[in-house]
Symmetry: D2
Amino acid sequence: MEREFPQLNSGTSSFYATAVVPGGCSVRLDATEKHLRPGNTVSGPSLFTLADIGGYVCVLSHAGPDALSVTTNLNINFVRKAPAGPVDGHCRIIKLGRSLMVFEIDMRAGAEGVTVAHATGTYSIPPKPK
Amino acid sequence: MEREFPQLNSGTSSFYATAVVPGGCSVRLDATEKHLRPGNTVSGPSLFTLADIGGYVCVLSHAGPDALSVTTNLNINFVRKAPAGPVDGHCRIIKLGRSLMVFEIDMRAGAEGVTVAHATGTYSIPPKPK
Amino acid sequence: MEREFPQLNSGTSSFYATAVVPGGCSVRLDATEKHLRPGNTVSGPSLFTLADIGGYVCVLSHAGPDALSVTTNLNINFVRKAPAGPVDGHCRIIKLGRSLMVFEIDMRAGAEGVTVAHATGTYSIPPKPK
Amino acid sequence: MEREFPQLNSGTSSFYATAVVPGGCSVRLDATEKHLRPGNTVSGPSLFTLADIGGYVCVLSHAGPDALSVTTNLNINFVRKAPAGPVDGHCRIIKLGRSLMVFEIDMRAGAEGVTVAHATGTYSIPPKPK
């Protein structure tokens, strides 16, 4: 996984993919001090990054390893405070078309694995060279 | 169900709840001519209405029959054309707090039940009178 | 305007464009009884429809009269109750590309013209036939 | 500004507020190497952070310096590649209520100051202690 997606771990091992399945994937953030904001909860940008990486792993694994895919939209709801420790993002591809991929990701944390954030997003997939 | 949620069917029987379960509900739109737009696909406003009703049924059934709850945010992705006929919305409550409820709804249609639209939204729940 | 955009007024004169300017447009909903929900405020689906129409007028006027453009995403925030009467939507095109248009719309109502809802959305523009 | 909002600059001077006006504010990201992703464009998480900070400066300056305000929703559209250099975020408060603030932010970059991203978001404002 690391060899396939080196860009996820550039300079850090905080974010990584844990599974790729047909129609989705799982990604994890091992939240440490630097991902926290005042109140000792995982920061919004850290959770946004996890969501974005989840979509990226879905695109790479389902539409081909095309580094030019870019996020065009991401909508995220923060619903509970997330403590330091692992945050698991479970991604589902809602639609994989030729030029767009829409996905959702449920981010869970804590001993009981409750949802701390949920996001939906769109990746634009560039046309294949002929 | 009709007696409990008469507002869903005011003057029409196109939208209705089909199930309420712990943590979610199912709602349906029986899409007819008037819900279609050019191209004979179910219109965006009709799918938005289905999503909004799904959230409303979740609020009514899980937070109490409080008519003052209002939608504050709704984000919807349209991913495939939906033909005339039933569109089934499967709702999941992501977070039910004292003042906000966040939910998602997957809307499926056609013989194979593929996702045609997906939405997440927030309802504001007014404080209970003391 | 009516001849150019007949689809806006199919069977009703509630929704119409009031201005098209470079980079944007204005649209209006004359909200009557049928657009209200309990509490006598303009319903969410009616404001969603206004937002969607605003984007559609932007696409038609800026990318060409192509009936195949479709909404792929719409995010709407409802911030104040809107009374019966005119609701004016002021649209700005954020990005007009070859295959996507992103826009925002500020919807104002009442004597003081305060914002009642705000939306951003994306239209997919089909490739031109060669 | 730095004394008032030290949390914006913790360990970095990349993000800062440039203006606070009635009903809004301006914030800036001085994008350097570490904010870029492959393709030498400013990364999504960096722009998300700018948007989130814009909302935070709006809350602090308009609702009072209450560190407990948290983002509950953020929807962001990425519309153009942003080069290294300053990215200016212009924030407008759409609604400031007792418990919620809704804002939008237009993020502009490059010599011509074109929009590279646009976001809308909601901050939850905790009740004042009595």
